[in-house]
Symmetry: C2
Subunit: 205 residues, 2 copies
DNA sequence: GCGTAACCTTACGCACGAGTAGGTAAGGTG
DNA sequence: CACCTTACCTACTCGTGCGTAAGGTTACGC
């Protein structure tokens, strides 16, 4: 209360508080007063350091998104084979979500529903989908399985959606083990992809 | 403009307008004035017929959710075998989303992000997940594949998430064909489930 | 030890939007 | 034609919450 802290520290405290309040209340229902109070500071300080409500929200998004991406990237790097890379990536992803549940809620639920911010997030998501689609494509090319380009993107959306759904579930269930969730997703991907690579398809009757 | 319409007609017009405005702006950013204007009526009429903003939003949710459920149920019914049922259900689902994009956006994006309404939706979603988990379980039991009960729920979340992700993509891409999307999802489910039923699993290194 | 820059506060202006009061007119019913 | 019910409106009140003005206090360099 009586401590005067340097700017960088306060900024992080404010962002922590903002992420929590945004996650709990939603963007509009969250008030700057509540965020300031949760950060243990008065409102004008928030404006002085992080700008308007919109700018604050974007700052939250950027911090959480960057942390997430960097965590996953760092997890993937030391791996060798494709299955190990995938496994490490998924494990990093779900571990991160489990450890930053509020951050995930803001990224996945709040940002997508506010048309003003959805664009930014959709872009990030699209890049992830592109990466996944690229992986599927190279895997199919290597196995000489025929497929149309659009199919990869669609499949990638399905996989990404499945992972997000599991992550979202994880975010709401304190008792679930992130690593276990990652194993489930790995099974889901690996088994399905394996079948796809063998050229199995379903045809409408 | 000068026509005095019976209540039931106006109510539907108001709900149509409300769904559109909620989908475009988000719950909080949508104003009752804008909804009233979009419905070609004055604000007090909206309050007279459909109550407060919260009640109006819930009315939107209920109408859209009911329509969706009934459409899918009606699609599934006339089918015989399990794969035909699944195919008909998916086709009905994606066709509905393609034809009611705004409704989907309200259900999937808006309702989930407002903590006040998320409960209702989460319940509906949980019931769908239960149904899917039940299908998976009976399929595995029939094939004598061993699995823990929790796994079915997790798998169901993954499948439901994949379908939602494809639906969401469809909602934003006017040019996509719902039936084609349903085919992709069917492939995704059928091929993966088939592999699972053969007891294929991935084990961590 | 004193200036000054950074940290922090109380207390407000102001706009916007939910919800309402109170009234008008159209169309049916006796 | 008198009446009542239903559809519909204009014009407000009032709370809430964003953003700010103006001023106080602590640390730190010199």
């Amino acid at each position: 209360m009586l401590k005067r802290l340097p700017r960088v520290v306060r900024e992080q405290q404010m962002l922590d508080a903002a992420v929590k309040v945004f996650a709990d209340r939603g963007f509009h229902a969250a008030s700057m007063d509540e965020i300031a109070e949760a950060a243990g500071i008065s409102k004008p300080m928030v404006y002085a350091y992080l700008g308007t409500k919109d700018e604050l929200f974007i700052a939250c998004l950027q911090r959480e998104a960057t942390r997430l991406m960097e965590t996953v990237a760092a997890g993937v790097l030391p791996a060798a084979g494709p299955d190990e890379q995938l496994w490490n990536g998924l494990r990093s992803f779900f571990t991160f979500v489990g450890a930053h549940r509020d951050g995930w809620r803001v990224l996945y639920r709040q940002a997508r529903s506010e048309p003003h911010f959805a664009g930014e997030l959709a872009g990030m998501r699209a890049r992830i989908v592109e990466v996944v689609a690229g992986l599927l494509e190279s895997a199919c090319a290597a196995a000489a399985v025929p497929a149309r380009p659009g199919d990869f993107v669609a499949m990638a959306y399905a996989y990404v959606g499945a992972a997000e759904s599991l992550a979202d579930w994880l975010a709401d269930h304190e008792e679930e083990d992130p690593e276990h969730t990652a194993t489930r997703m790995m099974n889901f991907v690996w088994v399905g992809a394996d079948a796809l690579l063998q050229g199995k398809v379903w045809r409408q009757p």
